[in-house]
Every structure is written in structure tokens, then in C-alpha cells.
Symmetry: C2
Subunit: 221 residues, 2 copies
């Protein structure tokens, strides 16, 4: 069965983006500190067409997260930027330039209909019918492989609240951001059966892997 | 040098007590779930005069936290309960009954002067002159050993904000509480040199030990 796999970097104080997100600071003030552990890795750099980088205990976690993904779903904020940007004469085409690193279909949650966008070997589909339809379409496109939930926090919270996330990997970065966007907000006290199954630690990041236990399936599987 | 060592159990969503704290629910609704990992341990039960319990990877962490502590500082809320309770005819003597588990001097931050209270072999001192004086008095009483910062969150935040915490162990419990008291709030983005030095994980709790790095001492050592 195709699983919905969510991974995100989060600060010790619970933020997945810093304060004052903007086009200039898409990750918020200081938010790039959440990703230093990843961008330093050879495994990440290779997947993004760059050379060099470190090999450490995070390498296997990063490699695992890239395996067997056939499609990605993401929220409007993750795709990018400024409200109304799509209606300008220069349409917004995401943060990733001409060669996005996905290499598989990406389904973007939005309220604004738009034709698919092809950049390199990544095709972006824009889904206006909500999280369930986006996941169905992504599963169909994934051809039996898993679907990655790329964030941002708002989209992730919707999938978590609906009990649709099968695997959640939190990359807990031992820093404070002091403000920004929280992942766990308005979710109540229910992880919908997600239980901690593995921890991998380095001084720069602690990887906390959660899986939905057998018998605790989401409502719509 | 006597070090200030802080440890606390915290939920995945950042709460160290659940919502709606009261005399009936001193840990807030669901807050007791933060402590199941500890109260299940033989090491904790033995320190609290109880028999039985588990031995697992948390045991060494618990035992380490109990070693070389000569005094404890705690906030008014940790000592206990209801505002004004001390002025009733039945003075509030803490949550711990006639035999508190400290067995060393405890310094309680408060705005209400009160004579020392002796229960079993624990003497509670009530300090009205603020966090620095309480820490000085605790250090003097500790006789060269370390001082434990027992919480609650409000007192801990004051010591963290002042850069006075030398060691912080977060017992991260992989649950959501959905509300309550946050540890990391109003602290900005500054951990005052505290860096992650050790991680120990079980399915029930992930112990994250932070220490102040050499050269990053607090301002008042």
C-alpha cells in the first residue's frame, strides 16, 4: 500500500519556519538554521546536483527519506510565496528554478485553478479540491510507490488532523527560533496512532521517526 | 564549580504541563502522561521509597540526574498550588507529604516571606529576593555539590533567560498535550550556549542532554 510519508525540520521550540516569512525570507528570520544539518550532507547535495558534503549518522536517514517516493503533495505556502503572485504577468513557478529536485509529479494544494507546470522532469499539478483529492491523485500518480508530504506546516497539520499520515520524521534541530510557524498547533492531543519507532542523533539534529501502529490506521485508507 | 542542572519532561508540542492546571490537576489535563516513563522506572521508584519497576535505557539517565545534587531551587508553582494558600489556617506544605523525596535543602522562589519548613529530612527555604539570591543560597547550602533546578516552567524560563543554566536535560515524550504551559516561551532565539551533547532514546522518551560549552559561560558565574 502506498504510504503518506511526512518529514520536516523543527526547532526545539516547535517552529518549522522562523518569524516574518516573506519573499525575501521564505523560511522566516533564522529559518535557514533548521536546514544546515541537511544541506551539509553529501546525500542532500548529490540529490540537488551539488558535489561534496559530509557523511555522518544523518546520511542513512536522508537516503531513506528519498527512497521509494513516487509523488509529492505540498501546500500553497511550500510551493511559494506571495499571495496573488500567480496572477501577475510573471507567474510564480516555485522556489526551485528550472530544474526542481523532485523528478516526479508534485501536487500543490491551492484555491486558485492553474494548468500544470512542467519544469525539467517535474510536473506540478494544482489541486483545488482539498487534501483528500490531492492525496488520491498523488497516489494514482505514484504508481504503487509512496507519497511524500513536503509541508508546509499548514498543509501538514491538515493531513495530520485527518489521520492520513502514515510516517512522520521530525528532524529536531537543537536551537530556538523564538517565533514563526508551529507544526503542532490546533491539533489537540491526538497523534492519530503515530508512535515513535526510531531515533538517530547527531550534535546537529535528532531524527525522530514515527509510524502509525498496526491497528491504528487512518480513517480513509 | 557547583553547576545548575535543570531537567524537565516536555511533550512533542512543547508543553511541560497540560491545560487547566488546578489543585485537582496539578500537572494539567493529561500532564501525568509526561511522567509515565519516569514513574515506571525502578530507579525513580526506589528514590521515592517504592519497590519494583523497570530497568531500561532511561535508568542510567535517571540515576545520573540524582547524583551529586546538594540543593534544589524551584518556583512557587512547583512548590505548589493555590494562590493565597499560605495565608489560610491550613498552610500549604507542598505536594510531597511528610517525607519529601529531596533529602537536601530546597529553595522556593516566592513573593511571600515564610519561615523555613522542615518535612522529614528536607528543609524548604522561601526566598523572596529573586532567582540570583536563591541560586547563591542554594550553592552555599550544596557544599560544593551541584544545584538542581526543579521547575516549574516559569522559574526555569527565568534561569534560562539569565544564562544561569549549566546543564539542561529534556525528557522529550512523544505525545501531544494540545495546550498547557510551554517551556520555551518568551526566551527569544538564544539558548545561551547550551548545546546538545547526548541523546538517549526509548520508545517512551528521548533524553536530550544540553551543556553549556566551554567559553560560553553565563554572565554571573
Amino acid at each position: 500500500m502506498s504510504r503518506l510519508r511526512f518529514r520536516i525540520s523543527i526547532s526545539l521550540d516547535g517552529f518549522v519556519a522562523g518569524p516574518e516569512q516573506s519573499v525575501r525570507h521564505p523560511l522566516g528570520i533564522g529559518g535557514e538554521r533548521l536546514h544546515h544539518w541537511a544541506t551539509a550532507l553529501a546525500a542532500w547535495r548529490g540529490a540537488h546536483g551539488m558535489e561534496g558534503g559530509e557523511i555522518n549518522a544523518s546520511t542513512a536517514v536522508m537516503e531513506e527519506s528519498l527512497v521509494n517516493i513516487g509523488a509529492t503533495v505540498m501546500g500553497r505556502n511550500m510551493f511559494g510565496g506571495h499571495p496573488g503572485g500567480w496572477s501577475t504577468s510573471e507567474p510564480w513557478n516555485g522556489w526551485w528554478g528550472d530544474e526542481p529536485p523532485f523528478h516526479h509529479p508534485v501536487f500543490v494544494l491551492t484555491r486558485h485553478p492553474r494548468s500544470p507546470l512542467v519544469l525539467g522532469d517535474t510536473r506540478f499539478h494544482f489541486v483545488t479540491e482539498g487534501i483528500h483529492v490531492a492525496l488520491e491523485q498523488a497516489r494514482a500518480a505514484a504508481g504503487g510507490r509512496d507519497v511524500a508530504l513536503a509541508g508546509g506546516a499548514h498543509a501538514a497539520r491538515q493531513y495530520l488532523a485527518a489521520g492520513l499520515v502514515d510516517e512522520m520524521e521530525l528532524h529536531l534541530v537543537p536551537i530556538l527560533l523564538g517565533g514563526g510557524e508551529r507544526l503542532f498547533d490546533q491539533l489537540g492531543d491526538d497523534l492519530h496512532g503515530l508512535s515513535l519507532v526510531r531515533t538517530v542523533a547527531t550534535p546537529a539534529v535528532v531524527h525522530l521517526k514515527f509510524e502509525r501502529l498496526h491497528g491504528a490506521r487512518g480513517p480513509l485508507r
